[in-house]
């Protein structure tokens, strides 16, 4: 099997719509999710949720840990709960084959070498602002559409996912700066983007400005 075949095998596990809803719920959740909570969120029985969650683990899309939810220990504390979270790996296929990631790396390398950070940030900020205008007041939905997997943490919107992860790992100064500018643009006048890293996710959070 080629790497592409592997990706098809993994992504094939998401063909089932119930399983896909479970995956989205767990992947977008701020913390690890237990079977009961996942079943309730998706509106299915606990045993059906357990079946599908374990299929997603087998496929390599989710990983598992065990923890006692009650915080109790020792005899009588019960068995530790099985908790699910998004796996680290990244899977993509396109038909016909496209290599936007390879193009992205080459462009990033060239932009960095040419020292065009500020030009890139200006373009990112303008793109964010244009999208904010189109999306109207619904920043959360715009962030979701961009793949940031936003969730509310009190008054703050935190971002569970970094849509530029692999590129940001390779060109952090350039790409994280671009991302920050994009979010500055998306934030518009009602919100402010600030640095507040979400473990395993984006390093930016958005808070509502006081006068709005």
């Amino acid at each position: 099997m080629t790497a592409e075949d592997d990706s098809y095998a993994v992504l094939g596990a998401l063909g089932d719509p119930v399983r896909r809803r479970l995956y989205r719920h767990v992947a977008g959740a701020p913390e690890e999710v237990g079977r009961d909570a996942a079943a309730e969120a998706v509106g299915i029985s606990r045993s059906l949720a357990a079946f599908h969650l374990d299929k997603l683990v087998e496929a390599g899309l989710l990983t598992v840990s065990y923890r006692r939810l009650s915080g109790r220990t020792g005899p009588g504390a019960g068995r530790p709960a099985k908790l699910y979270r998004r796996a680290e790996g990244e899977f993509a296929v396109s038909v016909p084959p496209r290599s936007y990631d390879a193009a992205g790396r080459l462009l990033a390398e060239t932009v960095e070498r040419a020292g065009l950070d500020l030009e890139l940030q200006a373009a990112a900020k303008a793109a964010g602002a244009a999208e904010a205008d189109a999306a109207g007041a619904d920043l959360e939905e715009a962030l979701r559409a961009r793949g940031y997997a936003p969730f509310r943490d009190g008054e703050v919107l935190r971002l569970r996912n970094c849509p530029f992860h692999a590129l940001a790992e390779a060109f952090p100064g350039l790409v994280c700066g671009m991302n920050l500018a994009l979010l500055d643009g998306l934030a518009g006048e009602e919100w402010s983007a600030r640095m507040a890293a979400c473990p395993g996710g984006c390093c930016v959070a958005l808070s509502k400005n006081k006068n709005h």
């Binding site: 640095m195 890293a197 390093c203």
Partner: protein, 159 residues
């Protein structure tokens, strides 16, 4: 846990001397960025006197008014990464082209030091030179080409 910590050096040449209004935005934020580094998880130490005579003798650019050097020690590569790219430091870093010349060679080097070792400016500048002359290796590497800490049993053998 290993008996090693991560040292880093970062150099740059400002577009104007330190007292010039052209780079005031950068210079004004230095104290704040240093304080942020010092209270970041995994911070160990940072070099304050970067112009010791021995270092200047070997690396005359250290005496240049436009030359900026930043050298520090961290618990791990990940701890330094969190500070450099995932804290308020990114706000300053992302404006680097407003204040600094475009580097024509490596401007950052990482290397492992035995826990407790404090690099000198001369030692740190030597790592940049090694990266420039030989590319990334265990003695001078980058975020993109990381090298693991040496085995603890080698502690004390090499600095």
């Amino acid at each position: 846990m290993t008996g090693y910590q991560l040292a880093q050096i970062n150099i740059g040449r400002l577009l104007a001397p330190r007292h010039s209004p052209l780079v005031a935005d950068f210079v004004d934020q230095l104290d704040e960025m240093n304080a942020l580094a010092e209270r970041s998880p995994g911070f160990v130490w940072r070099l304050v006197d970067d112009a010791e005579p021995a270092a200047v003798a070997a690396h005359p650019e250290l005496a240049d008014e436009k030359f900026q050097l930043n050298c520090s020690v961290w618990e791990s590569v990940e701890a330094l990464w969190e500070y450099a790219f995932r804290s308020d430091h990114l706000r300053v870093l992302s404006r680097r082209r407003e204040w600094f010349e475009r580097p024509d060679g490596p401007h950052q080097a990482l290397w492992w030091v035995p826990a407790g070792h404090r690099p000198t400016a001369a030692e740190a500048m030597g790592r940049i030179a090694r990266l420039r002359d030989h590319g990334p290796g265990p003695d001078a590497f980058t975020f993109r080409d990381r090298h693991p800490a040496p085995e603890a049993r080698a502690a004390g053998v090499r600095v």
